[in-house]
């Protein structure tokens, strides 16, 4: 592949001391998003999905549609350290962007679901997220004649069903992807040598070499979708804010950890909640590095506001914590190198944010 050759050449030229990149799938423009065979795309389906994504009636008290925690104007996340959560509650992790979520097969910070069709119900029904009851949300849709007509057209059913609603939302989300023409790195990869500044090009070499980012942030998505512990500092709000403490305990309780884990919970145990294997404590799924320009703050608990802080964190060898990955060690990057690395990371974002006008939502009607 042309790109791989190019990247290898760069690495070879600039960082012979640490030829890490060759062992990992290279970065590159995103291929078309994978489409599950049981949820094919159609314009009618994505249009319906867009409406549902914005429709607050898909949630408990009509205050929290998907869009509230995944706002286009906030990089399709919610802009906060920890996601806002349902009224009367707080969420406990950073709201991840929808951008390029189509490419993940492990969704949520602990990879608890494997598809967007699986993510949507967790969000709409989760008690600190949408807190919607599926049977009630389903009945609400059935009293919206335009939805009845659209579900019939798209899914061939007499009445809207939540499973179809989640499929439509997933289909819409698969359209929220980076446009390669707008991403400097993608343009560079596709042959536009002017697309990356010299800083960014040096940063790319560091990424693939001395800084070792590519060991986990690889492939077109810039994520290996594996789990690592980095010792990211815990967000202080859990020590100081009652609502966060409630959710912290609740998460441990409802995830079914052992009682001793619940009693002593003072850490986000990450992948451990799924596997209950102590080796997985504090491990989180590698996030994509695309569109970082629009998706601050960073990390599972939103602890870093800038890419400079993130790069400093890695340069210092990460933080303290259980099961810390051996890949995380001091990098010895100079000030100039750190600047270059940030320049490269920024080149993985589109020139302009992907914004979108809200759809017009159809009203309820009395059923004859």
């Amino acid at each position: 592949m042309k790109l791989k050759l190019l990247a290898t050449a760069l690495t070879g030229a600039l960082a012979t001391a640490a030829p890490v990149q060759a062992d990992f799938p290279p970065l590159g423009p995103l291929p078309p998003a994978p489409i599950p065979a049981d949820n094919p795309m159609s314009p009618e389906k994505t249009e319906l999905g867009k409406m549902l994504f914005w429709d607050s009636r898909l949630g408990g008290d009509a205050s929290s549609p998907c869009q509230v925690c995944h706002e286009p104007g906030k990089g399709w996340g919610d802009g906060g350290e920890i996601s806002r959560g349902y009224p009367g509650t707080q969420h406990w992790r950073n709201s991840q962007t929808i951008l390029n979520s189509a490419y993940y097969n492990k969704i949520f910070w602990e990879g608890s679901v494997t598809s967007l069709e699986g993510q949507a119900p967790s969000a709409a029904e989760g008690n600190v997220a949408g807190n919607g009851d599926p049977s009630l949300m389903e009945m609400r849709m059935r009293f919206i004649p335009e939805y009845v007509a659209r579900f019939k057209k798209v899914f061939g059913v007499d009445w809207p069903r939540m499973t179809h609603a989640y499929q439509a939302i997933a289909a819409f989300e698969r359209t929220i992807v980076s446009d390669a023409k707008q991403v400097p790195f993608d343009r560079f990869s596709n042959g536009d040598k002017m697309a990356l500044s010299e800083n960014a090009q040096r940063g790319m070499a560091l990424y693939n070499g001395k800084a070792g980012c590519v060991q986990c942030h690889n492939g077109p998505l810039a994520s290996d979708q594996k789990f690592y512990a980095l010792g990211v500092p815990e967000n202080e709000v859990f020590k100081t804010e009652p609502l966060y403490q409630i959710t912290h305990r609740w998460e441990h309780y409802q995830k079914g950890v052992f009682e001793k884990d619940y009693r002593s919970a003072n850490l986000d145990l990450g992948l451990y909640y799924i596997t209950k294997n102590p080796k997985d404590i504090n491990k989180f799924r590698t996030p994509s590095l695309r569109e970082l320009k629009y998706t601050a703050p960073f990390m599972h608990d939103g602890i870093f506001y800038t890419l400079d802080e993130v790069v400093d964190f890695y340069n210092n060898g990460g933080g303290e914590g259980p099961n810390k990955s051996p890949l995380i060690k001091p990098l010895g990057l100079s000030d100039a190198e750190r600047k270059d690395l940030v320049a490269f990371l920024e080149s993985l974002s589109m020139d302009k944010p992907l914004l979108m006008d809200p759809p017009k939502l159809p009203p309820y009607a009395v059923m004859k």
């Binding site: 008290d61 009652p242 409630i246 609740w250 309820y364 009607a365 059923m367």
Partner: protein, 380 residues
């Protein structure tokens, strides 16, 4: 929980005959031959029995009853729809619901609720277990929409609640016990100083002569006592009286189809066949799916009616005069009742009697709800 006895009156009689013919059962003696001492007492409104109440649990339960954090978005407490100032119910025909939802039935009072043998207008819950009723309301999506586990963690975040809990248990606030404790408080919400009860206890002057006449009608010509008997004035059974549908269920001037959404969703989650085409309140049918139960509702208590208007499962009757008039005509369409042919004076007397079943208003001041406090992180 004691088992449901889901048997309509006619069947109950038939079953009685069948039982009498069973070999293990002695043949039923003809009524005239039965010794007077063993004759079943004529049905009547009985005094409210004493309930065993754990005062410490009830004290915490009172806080929780008024605490909005027991609902999903902390927008409403039990007291929002069971308002002490409104007879522990609402003064509207149809109940509120959780934000973005509206109820499709009248909110029953919780006065004397723990003495009922069945809960909900469609009788779907057993009355021996108020904790389950509380759990049902708090976790139900159209009422308080709270996750029970989240309620537990919220209660634990209030040091005053944890302290109160420690006065009766060694552990932390947990699980279903929290709902039981709200039920313990509800036990304390009972009628006070009821003229009828004083009358029955021997104070002949406690009710007017008019009410006394009404009492005789209640037990006699009007036949009310057949269903309205026992301590709360309910047989705990399901009956069809043909109350007209409340048109606002299908189309509410303020809330459009929100009540119909709640109704059809209730049918859907009850597993009722053909629920999307239902346009009436089917009552007990949604629970049993037996055609004979179509349009049947749980006999409500007739205590403290003075404070609990409007009446019936959908609030369609606004005054006791209207209620008595309704029954005098034999109820509405499909009613299992017969016309009573009451005179104007008799109707007045009956209303006077019904009013004598109301005591002093049971009003309490809402407690001051304590705030969440920070806990030591990692010490749960």
């Amino acid at each position: 929980m004691k088992p449901h006895v889901i048997v309509p009156l006619a069947c109950a009689l038939a079953a009685g005959v069948a039982l009498a013919q069973a070999p293990a059962t002695p043949p039923a003696a003809p009524a005239p031959a039965a010794p007077a001492a063993q004759a079943p007492a004529a049905p009547d409104i009985l005094p409210l029995p004493e309930q065993k109440i754990d005062a410490k649990q009830a004290e915490l339960g009172k806080f929780l009853f008024f605490d909005k954090r027991l609902s999903g978005d902390a927008a409403l407490s039990c007291a929002t729809c069971h308002d002490p100032k409104k007879g522990w119910g609402e003064d509207a025909a149809l109940g509120k619901g959780y934000p973005a939802s509206e109820n499709f039935r009248n909110t029953p009072t919780i006065l004397n609720a723990t003495l009922k043998s069945r809960y909900h207008w469609d009788g779907r819950l057993d009355g021996s277990d108020p904790g389950t009723l509380v759990r049902d309301q708090i976790t139900e999506a159209v009422f308080m929409n709270a996750d029970g586990r989240l309620v537990q963690e919220r209660v634990k975040q209030v040091p005053e609640y944890v302290e109160l809990w420690k006065t009766f248990r060694k552990d932390d606030p947990n699980g279903m016990r929290i709902f039981n404790i709200v039920g313990e408080f509800i036990k304390t919400v009972t009628s006070k100083n009821v003229p009828y009860d004083k009358f029955k206890a021997g104070d002949a002057a406690a009710i007017s002569d008019d009410a006394k006449t009404g009492y005789e009608l209640f037990k006699g010509k009007a036949g009310c006592v057949v269903c309205h008997n026992g301590p709360v004035g309910s047989d705990g059974k399901l009956h069809k009286t043909g109350v007209p549908e409340n048109p606002q269920v299908l189309s509410d001037p303020e809330h459009g189809p929100l009540r119909a959404i709640t109704m059809l969703r209730h049918y859907s989650t009850s597993g009722m066949p053909n629920y999307m085409n239902a346009r009436t309140d089917v009552g007990f049918y949604a629970i049993t799916k037996a055609q004979k139960d179509m349009g049947k509702f749980n006999t409500p208590s007739i205590r403290d009616l003075k404070y609990t208007a409007p009446y019936m499962h959908n609030g369609m009757l606004k005054t006791l005069d209207e209620v008595v008039e309704f029954y005098s005509k034999g109820g509405g369409k499909g009613s299992e009742l017969k016309p009573l042919g009451l005179s104007a004076a008799e109707k007045k007397s009956l209303v006077a009697f019904l009013e004598s079943l109301s005591g002093d208003p049971v009003v309490i001041d809402p407690p001051k709800i304590p705030d969440y406090r920070v806990r030591e992180f990692g010490k749960n």
